[in-house]
Amino acid sequence: MFAELDPILHSQLRLAVMSLLIGVKEAEFTFIKEKTNSTAGNLSVQIQKLKDAGYIDVVKEFKDNYPNTTCKITTKGIHAFETYVQALQQYLKVQNP
């Protein structure tokens, strides 16, 4: 029996965001946008979805008089990411025994 792949993570951009955040303590919106090569609008929507799922924390503040958004993965997010990777590995084991 295969574990079901988390639909929140099983999307290209959201998975990329989570993969970025798992490797760092926190990252600014501009850094994530640059590394995922995405548009600001699309990224904002996907970040909001990850936030609603409780996978990331989003802090909005002002830096040098400009709005600045910082994202950080939560414990729930780390757990979901690990479960997702384990499920992927399970699928791959069956495909390439």
Binding site: H10, S11, Q12, L13, R14, L15, A16, S19, L20, I22, G23, V24, K25, E26, A27, E28, T30, F31, K35, T36, N37, S38, N42, V45, Q46, K63, D64, V85, L88, Q89, Y91, L92, Q95
Partner: protein, 226 residues
């Protein structure tokens, strides 16, 4: 990057691996601090060596430039923190290591300057006596002033600690090898006179910080250009 593209498990794992790699490449240090301290320590060491070797004095203690370097370092740290877009997991730990190292260097300077005088005072107050040293060649007798031998060895061992920690934690080989070389220089300095110790300090500055700093700088600029 599109959002709705359906990925197969293989593609998903590939995306995860690639993105983690991209994140790793995103938090290169600017290298400016390492270049600053590497230049300052190597310049001070080399000038001290030249002064002692050719027996002349430039008019001021060249090691004061190490104290002066704190001022640009403060501005560099403020600017770097402002421009930082991402914070790595080990950042706080490494920052704390370098801060404790900075405090330890000043504590060591304090120790080297204070302990000889205090030791002499303690010897005097113990039974109101003085220790004398006699030069049997000239038959001249002088009051013995306590002295901390091979002071440079103490600096060298301190230099190696944060450099090795950073090299190991960041898997940054130039700093790892620089730190190991610094330990080797420490061993050598235990057998050499102060003249050569100055050269060893200069070498430590070059290999511990200047060269790794230049490598970090070039990586940072390359990353910025991409």
């Amino acid at each position: 990057m599109e959002n709705d593209k359906q990925l197969n498990p293989q593609e998903s794992l590939q995306l995860i691996a690639e993105t983690i790699q991209k994140a790793k490449g995103g938090f290169h240090e600017t290298g400016i601090s390492a270049i600053l301290w590497g230049s300052v320590v190597s310049a001070a060491g080399l000038v001290s060596f030249i002064e002692k070797y050719f027996n002349f004095y430039i008019g001021f203690d060249i090691w004061l430039i190490v104290l002066a370097a704190i001022i640009p370092q403060v501005f560099i740290s403020i600017k770097e923190n402002k421009n930082k877009k991402v914070i790595a997991h080990d950042e706080k730990f490494l920052d704390a290591t370098w801060m404790v190292y900075g405090i330890s260097i000043f504590a060591l300077m304090f120790y080297i300057n204070i302990v000889p005088n205090v030791s002499q005072q303690l010897i005097t107050t113990y039974d109101n006596s003085q220790l004398y040293i006699k030069n049997i060649a000239t038959n001249k007798t002088e009051i013995w002033r306590p002295y901390i031998f091979s002071q440079s060895s103490l600096y060298l061992i301190l230099f190696s600690i944060p450099t090795l920690v950073t090299g190991i934690a960041r898997r940054f080989k130039p700093m790892l090898y620089g730190g190991l070389l610094c330990l080797a220089l420490f061993v050598i300095s235990c057998y050499t006179i102060t003249l050569w110790d100055m050269l060893l300090l200069a070498l430590a500055g070059i290999f511990n910080w200047l060269i790794p700093g230049l490598i970090l700088r070039s990586r940072f600029l390359k990353g910025k250009a991409c």
